[in-house]
């Protein structure tokens, strides 16, 4: 019984670790992509403004 409970706890712990690591990977990818995307957008806006207004 104790071994079963232990196995259940280990399984839940592994499930949590799996969920955490997948969240870390996905969230990092999203944050890094967003940073690059918005930097590129702002750069292109600044270049266009420079072109338009000198």
């Amino acid at each position: 019984m104790n071994e079963e409970n232990q196995n259940l706890a280990d399984g839940q712990n592994t499930g949590l670790k799996d969920a955490q690591s997948s969240a870390l990977v996905a969230a990092s990818a999203i944050i890094i992509f967003s940073a690059f995307y918005w930097f590129a957008q702002i750069q292109s806006v600044l270049e266009l403004l420079e072109l338009a207004y000198g």
């Binding site: 806006v45 266009l48 403004l49 338009a52 207004y53």
Partner: protein, 189 residues
Amino acid sequence: MSELIYNFAVWVDDTSWSTMLHESYYMYNWVESTHVLTLMISLGMLFLIDLRMLGWAFPDVPASKIADRLNIPMMVGFTVMFITGILLFYAVPVRSVQSIWFRIKMVLLVGCAINAYLFHKRMNESVSSWDNDAKAPQRIRNGAMLSLGFWTVVVICGRFIAYDWFDCGYPQPAFIEFVAGCVDGQTRF
């Protein structure tokens, strides 16, 4: 009255900042985008509060808690929308003030404000008796339904402002010209 409003709009249009905003390469687009995207904060919170009153969202969270906690981000969102809305009007004042959709939107916004005041007043007076109920009493639910309806039409009217079906610059029936406040012989549109 129409002439007074038109003259005021022409005066605003003649200011240099109005022209700069209207003719700017990106500023008008950024202001408009901010106005639309802030919907997520202002109307998002408001709709969640209304849906709670109807029992369709967060039924097991006390209604007063939802209304109270989501009120601040809602008001922050509305403040931003109010400021960007004024800027959008300031950029194109003549066309805005003579747009039927703009006028309906402004009337409905006043209606929304009155409805919100009455809603909060009634809620604060009676909430202790139904706070933990999944659905609010009928009067409160009516207020929530009105709020949802009014704001939906506000968004639709806001979207329709961009269309020129009833603009004063084109020949319109007399009723439309009256409601839109078109002025005979006006040179600015």
